[in-house]
């Protein structure tokens, strides 16, 4: 068991390293370099030379890669070309904000999704299921910018309950954000819940049709007990990985929500960095988000390893 965990951890580290390589190579491959990209039309003559010298672009790619990765491990991503400040500082607060968004949305969304998914499966094809599933389909397929816009329309413009955009400073302490965060969280949670709900529903339906559930019924297990002891553990186990994947995937896409609500998170920073062609910043953000993704998957895999009796007992020999 310990061996399995160690292997999984090693794999995670390997993946992150690979990703860092891909990011670096990807940026290198793009036409021009960090300086020509940023300076654009002004990229010539002395200015270009100075820029290159300051950024250390004369050194060979491999050296730069190693320097970058070593720095990244320490949390130092270099200096942003646009802001002339340490990237880590800027990214730090934005990262915190995005994580708050993600974590809160998950805390609300995941349990809600599981509950609704189970309900939809148990009342399959009847009224509760039709309601839940239809709403889920809508929430899933309507683009986030649309649903966010609609939310603003309803809650901010028409009802006036909540602010439509965030005007608090990015690095302000948490409690100042509170009322600002509610709508973005709802927007994110909506999509998250819809996706996870559908997976849970399908999983529960599959398990309900299995031989062992039929057997439980045929040995006289009452319905409620059957659901809790025989159906749920087997239905929810395989969804752990998918839930993690969904959350990770959605976090990569919070940019749209952040733009609509003007939320000072990593997504908006990313957009700005790309717009201004601040490649060092872009690289840093890419690496952070990718690490977050790998981390979430790792967590899910380890959780599954511990919870799944089949994997837990793999080392034991048969009696």
């Amino acid at each position: 068991m310990v061996k399995l965990i160690a292997r999984r951890l090693a794999l995670g580290v390997l993946t992150i390293m690979l990703v860092s390589g891909i990011i670096f190579v990807g940026v290198e491959v793009l036409p021009g370099d960090a300086c020509t990209a940023y300076l654009q039309r002004a990229a010539q003559g002395k200015r270009l030379e100075n820029c290159r010298r300051d950024s250390g672009l004369e050194r060979p790619a491999l050296t730069r890669y190693v320097k970058w990765t070593l720095g990244a491990v320490r949390g130092d991503f270099g200096v942003s070309m646009k802001r002339k400040t340490l990237i880590s500082k800027t990214v730090g607060t934005r990262f915190r904000n995005t994580v708050i968004l993600g974590v809160t949305a998950s805390i609300i969304g995941v349990p809600l999704a599981i509950l609704l998914g189970i309900i939809a499966a148990l009342w399959r094809d009847r009224l509760p299921d039709l309601w839940v599933s239809t709403t889920a389909i809508f929430a899933m397929t309507i683009p986030e910018f649309v649903s966010s816009t609609v939310l603003i329309l309803i809650f901010s413009v028409w009802l006036g309950w909540l602010p439509g955009i965030v005007i608090t400073r990015p690095d302000a302490p948490l409690f100042e954000f509170l009322s600002d965060i509610i709508l973005p969280i709802v927007a994110l949670a909506l999509v998250m819940t819809a996706h996870i709900l559908r997976m849970v529903r399908t999983s529960v339906i599959d398990v309900m049709a299995s031989d062992y559930v039929q057997m439980a019924r045929l040995k006289g297990v009452p319905y409620g007990q059957m659901v809790f002891r025989h159906v749920l553990p087997n239905a929810l186990l395989p969804t752990i990985n998918l839930v993690a994947l969904t959350i990770a995937w959605l976090l990569g896409g919070t940019i749209v929500i952040e733009v609509v609500f003007n939320y000072p998170g990593l997504g908006r920073l990313m957009l700005q960095a790309i717009f201004f062609r601040d490649l060092a910043m872009v690289q840093a953000i890419a690496l952070i988000l990718a690490t977050l993704y790998v981390g979430l998957n790792l967590f899910a895999d380890l959780l599954t390893l511990v919870a799944n009796p089949r994997l837990r007992t793999m080392q034991r020999s048969r009696p």
Binding site: L218, K219, P309, T313, R318
Partner: protein, 680 residues
Amino acid sequence: MGDPLVQVKNLGIGFTSRAGLFLPILRNIDLAIGEGETIGLVGESGCGKSTLALAMMGYLKSGLRVLEGESQFHGRNVFDMDERALEDIRGGELALIPQNAGQSLTPTSRIGRQINESVKLHTRLAKEQRRERVIELLSQVRLPQPQELLNRYPHELSGGQQQRVAIAMALAGEPDVLLLDEPTTGLDVTTQAHILELLRDLATETGTAMVYVSHDLGAIARVSDRIAVMYAGEFVLEGSAHQVLKQPAHPYARGLLLSIPRLQEAVVPASMPGLPPSPGEAGQGCAFADRCPMAEQVCGDNRPVLEPTAMQELVRCHFHERVEQLPLPESPKRPDRSNLDELNNILRFDNVAISYAKPSIVDQILNRQPDVTPTVDKIDLTICRGETIGLVGESGSGKSTILRAIAGLLPPQSGTITYDKAESLNTSVGERGKDLLRSVQLIFQNPDASLNPRHTVAELLAQPLRLYFGLNGDKLRERSVTLLERVRLRADYLERLPSQLSGGEKQRVAVARAFAAEPKLVLCDEVTSALDVSVQAAVLHLLTQLQVDHGTTYIFVSHDLAVVRALADRVAVLYQGRLCEMGPSENVYRSPSHPYTEVLLGAVLEPDPDAELVLAAEDAVDLFPPAKGCPFHRRCPRHVGDICGNETPPWQPTEFGHAIRCHIPLGELRDMQYQSVTTH
């Protein structure tokens, strides 16, 4: 007999098809089960026996509903009971032992907990008492170390152990009636025998009544007091086990019994023509009329009712008195065996070892073979041209592995396989020439998986014809039609897809495909194991006929000793990938035998109520084959000492080209085995 525990009255169950028609699965079922008696419900696939067993619990698969009649338990109709009442009796007084225990046990719940659940639901014991009861139940089903087993998960147990757990779970509620739905399907021969003995003993110990559903007449014969034979959803024969098995009064039952291969008879059993009707196809008259050897006009017009006979059976046949006088069907001609010559061999194994282990990087660098005990080892075998050699063994015996090696899918790790005294078969498929590929053909067990569901029969047959003979167009079609005729399928089957064929028809297509290449050697990997008994007989027929016509050599792999007896001239017995015994069939099936062969023979279930099972070895699960010594020494009932585990036993030949690999001298072996037979 007092009041019956279960009483089924004129039960009819069916479903509504997509076209809106109501199709029956069960018709006019009447059955009474009294205290302590065991009834066997026997029939082939689709006859409705499982539906009936589940219906006795008030359970219907989705889409089915009761058309008429009722099923009573202790006088109450189960279809009138509410959920609570049903939950009360299910698992309690009326318990089910399911078909596939491995899939019927909840994977995320420990064994102890699952059995405890049953105890808690159906008894009033307190917590500590329950734990004791669970251990008691596990011991009752003869599982070793019950305290430890409590904490295990279902997937950690072997198939046999899982089935025992399922039995323990069913016994938890101290049932009056046990329903067993094919409980030994999928288990090894020896395991199956042990489970059946257990069930018999339990029935005697606890006095529980049992309803044993199976397609296997051998298993039914072993446990039942009474037998009911089902065909197309109705009972066609019901009577005492003895009567039904020895003198069946219904032509179908008779045909069924005749199509079962017997250990003592080296003949391919007779087969019944045609197929059972699908639900709704039966029509006005007797469901069996179109296949019956003595059918007359009235059979097609009037459906017969169940009538009592002189021997106190119930028969559904207009002419049941005449069944006794039906002539025995002709057995197909066996090919001439007198000229089998070892020197004229087609295949030769010299100390062959085969392994699935792939060399790791380290091994590749050092250019050596992986240091793992091979799956198959020390095979020395010669196969004569034109013979049928049977490879028998249970799961893990390596028989399929050997076939794959011959076919070139898995080259041997060491030793040589020589084809036709000239070519080496140590090559993989890619390295072989067209001629060699053509000469060796493989037929698989499950036709659902071995025929591409997207291809028509025409396409399936065209592939080898194109590949080996370059045929096209009209010539191709002509040859395909001829091939179909040879396997007794009409030309219009060419346009059909596998999903439109029955199991037996699909397997015929697979046979036709193999013979399209005009092979010299055909490898049959459990080709009849997935088929119903009567269909199996037909396919065996077919294979024999083809051999007579073409002089093909067969290597016939099977776990079913009776089938192998019917077909094979010589037999080789394998245990964990090593040869134990080898020789002409009649010698192998007689004493002296290798101890493992002895165990196998003792475990065969013949549809004979007087036959006794001989359980010599323990039903244990062997993990790894040993590097040295006899592979069977851990389970061998005739173990003589350390020598068995340390030294590889030598081949001891007898006359007739029969050899046994054992440390015990043959004379002693023969005496010991003679003694065992006479003391039983």
